[in-house]
């Protein structure tokens, strides 16, 4: 199983917060821009791909114990989001691509969804 650090290096993602918490193994992935859907479906240790970048993303990730959040389409989160992510130890990563492409690249690295064999 890969760690988020391995994934960040292979996909060349920039890490915005909690650089010391990248060593966790990624248990799978989930993608949605709806927070309640992430709440319902994302699993402990998952990486979450979303276009949302406000501080509540961090709250959801911290409550679920996610390995990290990848924010797509090069959106830069507000300073408040990054600060919250640092204090909660939630890694935020930014990718220039669309959600579709990010998920495809994660899948190529072996990251799977919860409803996948």
């Amino acid at each position: 199983m890969r760690t988020l650090k391995d994934i960040a290096e292979e996909l060349n993602l920039s890490v915005l917060s909690a650089e010391h918490s990248l060593e966790r193994e990624v248990t799978g992935g989930y993608a949605s821009d709806l927070l309640s859907c992430a709440m319902a479906k994302a699993q402990d240790g998952n990486v979450w791909v979303t276009l949302q970048s406000h501080p509540n993303v961090v709250a959801v990730a911290a409550l679920l114990g996610l390995a990290g959040v990848i924010i797509g389409e090069g959106r830069t989160p507000e300073a408040a989001t990054v600060a919250k992510a640092d204090s909660e130890g939630v890694p935020l990563l930014v990718a220039p691509w669309t959600t579709f492409t990010i998920v495809a690249r994660l899948a190529a690295l072996g990251v799977t969804g919860l409803d996948q064999d």
Binding site: S36, Q52, H54, N56, L63
Partner: protein, 313 residues
């Protein structure tokens, strides 16, 4: 894996937080400037030290080390005095400086020890790399024990406090439209449950449901609301209360996907209409009562797992 990464940053943090005065050795063996090297040899041997600060009239004027002693022995000048062989340009550190200052000086100059002086110039101790390692380990240990004690005390609260029914009441205020602090009440409740020793599954369920209730208060209420968690050894009951605007049709509100959130809130990813149904999935019991124009009361209960319930006798 994650733990070791955390510990590295912890010790880095401590190197900055700890003061030299906290880790230095206070009982410093010093020698006078006119001490013969033959006597120094005995002092180093008996005290099992490898060097000592040299004082004259209480002032620090140099440092003499075992290497200096070896050089004088080789030169056959064992009867010379300490002041003739000591290092006179003395690098010192202050007792109120952070340990990182000493670490840097050790690394840059290759010193084995540094005399520690107070701001008024008095010698107050000596610091070696060994002192720093010992100080860091001790501090890590202290902090680890403090968290252990927190957890221990918290997890025994139901044993330590006797009553016919002991419960713990936690109250969190939630402000309307305060998305920046959204999730704080549920995070705090989650942490409290962890300290109380609740099982991971129940913590997760209670955390998710409370988050959704908290988010509802932020999105929909006129003047905010309150989240009240009542923790008992066998179950957690979380109640979210507000005083308006109230829900027209609670059955409709419970339908997955039904939402009354305005567009600007939906654009942030809220208001998917999944909040109440998420709560229904997570909670063991749920009761929603509301009247349009007055307020809403949402009650959620979570049974703690049999063997791993909040510790009780």
């Amino acid at each position: 894996m994650r733990r070791s990464a955390l510990e590295i940053t912890k010790s880095q943090e401590l190197v900055y937080e700890l003061k030299i005065g906290q880790v230095m050795t206070r009982e410093v063996v010093t020698v006078a400037a006119d001490t013969p090297m033959s006597q120094l040899k005995e002092i180093l041997r008996v005290q099992r030290i490898s060097g000592a600060p040299v004082l004259q009239d209480g002032r620090l004027i140099g440092v003499i080390s075992i290497e200096d002693l070896i050089k004088t022995l080789e030169a056959g000048r064992i009867e010379s005095t300490v002041s003739e062989s000591m290092t006179t340009v003395v690098e010192t550190v202050f007792d109120d400086e952070s340990v990182i200052q000493a670490v840097n000086k050790f690394a840059l100059r290759g010193f084995g020890r540094l005399p520690v002086v107070s701001r008024d110039g008095k010698l107050v101790g000596i610091i070696t790399q060994g002192d720093i390692v010992r100080g860091l380990l001790q501090q890590l240990d202290v902090e680890y024990h403090e968290e252990e004690i927190h957890r221990y005390r918290a997890s025994h609260i139901f044993e330590d406090i006797e009553s016919d029914q002991t419960g713990l009441l936690l109250r969190y205020k939630v402000l309307p439209r305060d998305f920046v602090h959204g999730g704080e009440a549920s995070s705090k409740l989650k942490r409290a449950l962890e300290r109380l020793g609740a099982d991971a599954q129940t913590i997760r369920r209670a955390g998710i449901a409370t988050y959704e209730a908290e988010t509802n208060l932020i999105i929909h209420t006129v003047s905010g609301g309150e989240i009240i968690a009542e923790i008992r050894p066998e179950r957690i009951k979380v109640t979210a209360i507000d005083d308006g605007p109230g829900i027209d049709d609670t059955d409709k509100a419970m339908e997955p996907g039904f939402s009354t959130a305005p567009d600007w809130i939906r654009e942030m990813g809220f208001g998917a209409g999944m909040g109440l149904s998420n709560i229904a999935v997570c909670a063991d019991q749920m009761r929603l009562s509301s009247k349009a124009g007055s307020g809403t009361r949402l009650e959620m209960s979570f049974h703690l797992q049999g063997g791993e319930r909040v510790r009780t006798r």
